[in-house]
């Protein structure tokens, strides 16, 4: 659907985006995720054509659009600040792209009504944007973008200005529209949770490059770099040294003397320094009699209740602190800071990185 070959953008000596190779599939929901300054918005603007490439080429729907202005690329875009025209009513806003395409007035009226029904806002056609709430404005912006059935929709942090509750509601709403209409969506966000909830695939960006591209579970469970492990979700990161490497396992001694085993050595050799990643939810706080493939002992430092989950911070003998995250409902452990505890995990939950 969208194909980039070495697409890059530099401003004088500054490279905003190095040569990017990326292919977005028909009907896919692909999220560009990354911290600010990682180049995700620049990448989106290259595809929309509002910023021109300084290297590489871009295809949309098999058509080379590298040298086409935005108006001829035939795509839809939703902006973070909604970009609704303040001098037009909601209906006029949604009709705008149809008027540009010179559709007959009756058809315009029908399509505007349909679009408003689609985003479940049938009653507000005659209002001005500034009379609407943030969530309503965003729905109108989405309606205006979908009304001319673009096969590719770009969304630039569309929910960035909404509060948490509304944001979660709109995430599901956008997913519903995606499933219903089947267009290809390229979505930019810096919110990793949003990316995990919404995407078919996530393209993690860093410093103008693609750090890792894969499904949400790929990125979450099999991060290829410390950056990826750290950016998505929470993780315990430990420095260590490889002590034994076989083709399908690696044993690592951490700074504290703890030996952990992980799968997939990924080119590590014995004696090399490495990093260990283990997700807090993969660490279990064991009760008496419980057992696990790998176990270590430590002292409970802190118990942090965060509603549905509870975090246990455990200090190991070497001074390393690990966080274990358990569902509050299943951890009726009467543990106080200072108590000795055992942590258990499975070797396949440990990711070893260079």
């Amino acid at each position: 659907m969208v194909r980039l070959e070495g697409a890059g953008r530099s401003y004088g000596p500054v490279t905003a985006l190095a040569g990017i190779d990326l292919e977005v599939l028909q009907g896919e929901f692909l999220t560009l995720l990354g911290p600010s300054g990682s180049g995700k918005t620049t990448l989106l603007n290259l595809i929309s054509g509002t910023v021109s490439v300084t290297s590489g080429r871009i295809w949309i729907d098999g058509r080379d659009v590298t040298d086409l202005p935005p108006m001829e690329r035939g795509l839809g875009m939703v902006f973070q600040n909604y970009a609704l025209f303040p001098h037009m009513t909601v209906a006029e806003n949604i009709a705008f792209p149809l008027r540009v395409r010179r559709l007959p007035e009756a058809e315009i009226r029908r399509k505007v009504t349909e679009a408003l029904d689609l985003v479940r806002l049938p009653e507000i056609a005659e209002r001005k944007p500034k009379e609407l709430s943030g969530g309503q404005q965003q729905r109108v912006a989405i309606a205006r973008c979908l009304v001319y059935n673009p096969s590719l929709v770009l969304m630039d942090e569309p929910l960035g200005a909404l509060d948490k509750k509304l944001r979660e509601q709109m995430q599901l709403e956008i997913k519903r529209l995606h499933a219903l209409l089947g267009m290809t969506i390229l979505y930019v966000t810096h919110d990793q949770e949003e990316a995990l909830v919404m995407s078919d695939r996530i393209c993690l960006m860093r410093d103008g490059r693609i750090e890792q591209l894969g499904t949400a579970s790929d990125l979450y469970f099999r991060p290829l770099s410390v950056f990826a492990a750290d950016f998505l979700g929470e993780s315990n990161l430990l420095d260590g040294e490889c002590v034994a490497v076989t083709p399908d396992s690696v044993e690592v001694r951490t700074a504290g003397g703890l030996v952990m085993a992980g799968l997939e050595p990924r080119g590590l050799v014995s004696g090399a320094s490495c990093k260990l990643v283990i997700r807090p939810e993969n660490l279990a706080v064991l009760r008496d009699g419980d057992t696990a493939p790998c176990i270590t002992e430590g002292v409970l430092e802190d118990v942090i209740f965060v509603g549905g989950v509870t975090n246990f911070r455990v200090r190991l003998p070497g001074g390393v602190v690990l966080t274990a995250k358990r569902l509050t409902a299943e951890t009726r452990l009467a543990l106080a800071p200072g108590a000795p505890v055992r942590l258990g995990w499975k070797p396949e939950d440990v990711v070893v990185l260079k």
Partner: protein, 262 residues
């Protein structure tokens, strides 16, 4: 907010400010009662109240001709300086091209050149072009003075027009002209109205350049007033001044209203 106790110093400062204001405003205000006098010379206070001078202004001598000439020149100036100034401002704020700052300075330069220098230059230049003493010549001269103000006003207005709106319209398939017509200009309307009124006022008040350019048949109101004070000290001046003050106040009021609306 708690009300601050006024110190003697701030009271004195406020007093001085009001005195200064009164000193500046008084001459304009004194004109108003004088304009209702019925004598044939300027006098204060007036001996009796009448509309004699207004009657003279509207129906006698060639005051009306000068007023119509001024209105014509001011309207022409407003239209021409809008076309040039808004166009220039749009280019300066939306496009990238080399030497932009230099070009901006150049376009704004008439505002920095002393009026008398502009007047002399225009007098010689329009003389060669056979436009001296014509309404067209006056409109061109006044446009030169008004355009920098229109550019500055329009550029400030364009800064308030969110570029994302133009980009959004462009992505939705609208070309540059359509975006300008349907998005940018409608959003710029209050600014354009304000700029037009300012240009009109600048032209309507202009004396120095008009004095050089205007001919016998194209005398503008301020030029006529200046001559009147020079040669006859006609009391009609008081009536004209009063009307001009009202016009300026009215235009400033409209501009303020339009600005507030935004």
């Amino acid at each position: 907010m708690a009300r601050r106790r006024s110190s003697p110093l701030s009271l004195a400062a406020a007093g001085a400010a009001w005195l200064g204001y009164a000193f500046l405003a008084l001459p304009s205000l004194i004109i108003i009662p004088m304009s209702f006098s019925n004598s044939d010379e300027l006098s204060f206070p007036p001996h009796s109240i009448s509309l004699y001078l207004y009657d003279k202004y509207f129906f006698e001598s060639n005051w009306m001709a000068a007023t119509l000439e001024s209105l014509e020149v001011a309207t022409g100036t407003a239209i021409l300086s809008l076309l040039l100034g808004v166009g220039a401002a749009y280019g300066l704020s939306r496009a990238e091209f080399p030497a932009k700052r230099l070009i901006t300075m150049f376009l704004l330069s008439p505002a920095f050149v002393p009026a008398i220098v502009l007047a002399l230059g225009l007098y010689l230049y329009l003389g060669v072009a056979h436009l001296s003493g014509t309404t067209t010549g006056l409109i061109i001269s006044h446009t030169l003075v008004a355009v920098p103000f229109v550019i500055v006003t329009a550029m400030a207005g364009l800064r308030h027009v969110d570029r994302h709106l133009e980009i959004a319209a462009n992505v939705m398939g609208a070309g540059r002209l359509l975006v300008l017509r349907r998005i940018t200009l409608p959003l710029l309307r209050p600014t354009i109205l304000a700029a037009a009124l300012f240009a009109f006022l600048i032209s309507f008040d202009e004396v120095v350049i008009s004095y050089f350019i205007a001919g016998v048949r194209t005398q503008t109101l301020p030029v006529k007033m200046y001559s009147a004070i020079h040669w006859e000290i006609s009391p009609v001046l008081a009536a004209v001044s009063t009307l001009l003050t009202l016009l300026s106040l009215g235009i400033c009021f409209v501009v303020a209203l339009v600005r507030k609306d935004r």
